[in-house]
Symmetry: C2
């Protein structure tokens, strides 16, 4: 294995998981660099040099840096087209992109707020004042700094959290409506839309059973089982995970 | 001209402008359906049937509906690849997508808040209580309904507006950094990243001269002039515009 393809990623959950599944589906060999978010390695100078936003995952291909998990997966598709994870038909391809955009802009931020409130809050609360200052000082993006400061303080308001839970419910409703009429999220064919969404939604039945359960999301649950059964998903789940069990929420 | 390609769009500004420029660049004939946002035609039942989100632009190609301007432009590229507006090189293509994603998720929402505060607020304030109720009742997306209710009331807070102005400044800084080292936003080649961004940024020098001016954005201003000079941009600007001069802010 040469070092032509390298991935900087955290545990196999959320944005890191999206790219890990894509690489495993395509059977692409890569050098894995685990970035330990609990040790704030994503804010260390050498990592920020790679990605000025201080966020995982980051793909390095023949020395070129590519960021943003949704874009990384389209890039992998452009460079390693087989097996195909982007429908050949332009309409289905547009549906794949519309859905992934909805996940990136609506579902993911809502789910992320809940995750920050439940999990990152515990990490932030465990830091003393000086440690917290040191962490905040090194976060390059103002938006990320603000979120850390929020969960280290009084966290999000009840109204904000309720709105995020509502958005998670709307997202599940939309998924259920699509999956009741077709096998996968973009079309009849498995695509990036499915693995992008699975990486966010995998833990829903366990963490938010009021949002996704047999009553309101039978087709979503069936789709999750089919996703879980994929060898590429299983292989991605076997990637290193340094997060203690007590802090794992949104994985399977 | 057959009716194979139809575009539902508003005046040549923002999201409608993105798709209009793309169609003009490619020289594609299309049937234009003007949706008058000042008459709330985007919330009328027949339009909502086309796009349940009640938003323009909407492309209808051989009877198939495609929404989301960024996705529509990638779709047009997939179906009508010439002249090429998506770089052939996968790295430049990824840069095009990373930048368009930044515009969609960061720059555009910030700019949009300023636009709502200045312009949509005037429209909302001109409605009496009953008219406003009728407008709100028909808006399909909760997020859009909330924005209308906000600008019809006390509008956004000073802190929210200041944060949006800050984000506009950050966006200009990023554009300036890129355009100081290369001719176009994705790479050395004109691409969807440029026309997507132009459609948002065209009015900045006039409407927010503190955010974009000769001192902080000489390369951005040069890029804007090159964009304005393009025949496709000129042709798009000649499309119908029913917005009174006094309510035009973000166009050229």
């Amino acid at each position: 294995m040469d070092r032509m393809l390298e991935l900087y990623h955290a545990e196999p959950v959320a944005n890191s998981m999206k790219v890990l599944i894509c690489l495993k589906e395509k059977g692409i060999e890569f050098v894995s660099h685990y970035v330990d978010l609990l040790r704030f390695e994503q804010h260390e100078p050498e990592f920020v040099e790679l990605n000025p936003n201080g966020q995982v995952p980051v793909l390095v291909h023949e020395g070129t840096v590519i960021t943003e998990s949704t874009v990384i997966n389209e890039y992998l598709e452009d460079v390693f087209p087989e097996p195909r994870l982007r429908p050949r038909d332009p309409v289905s391809r547009a549906r794949m992109r519309i859905w992934s955009k909805f996940v990136d802009e609506y579902f993911c931020p809502a789910l992320s707020m809940i995750g920050w409130h439940i999990l990152v809050r515990r990490i932030a609360k465990a830091l003393d004042k000086d440690e917290l200052e040191r962490v905040l000082d090194r976060i390059p993006l103002k938006e990320q700094r603000d979120k850390w400061a929020t969960v280290a303080g009084d966290s999000f308001t009840e109204a904000q959290l309720a709105d995020s839970r509502r958005k998670c419910r709307v997202s599940v409703e939309r998924m259920e409506a699509i999956l009741a009429r077709q096998k996968w999220l973009a079309c009849a064919e498995y695509s990036l839309a499915d693995l992008n969404t699975y990486s966010m939604a995998a833990g829903l039945p366990r963490m938010m059973p009021d949002v996704l359960n047999e009553q309101n999301g039978p087709h979503v649950l069936d789709w999750l089982s089919r996703m879980n059964a994929r060898p590429a998903v299983q292989a991605a789940l076997e990637m290193p995970n340094k997060v203690p069990e007590t802090l794992r929420a949104f994985g399977t």
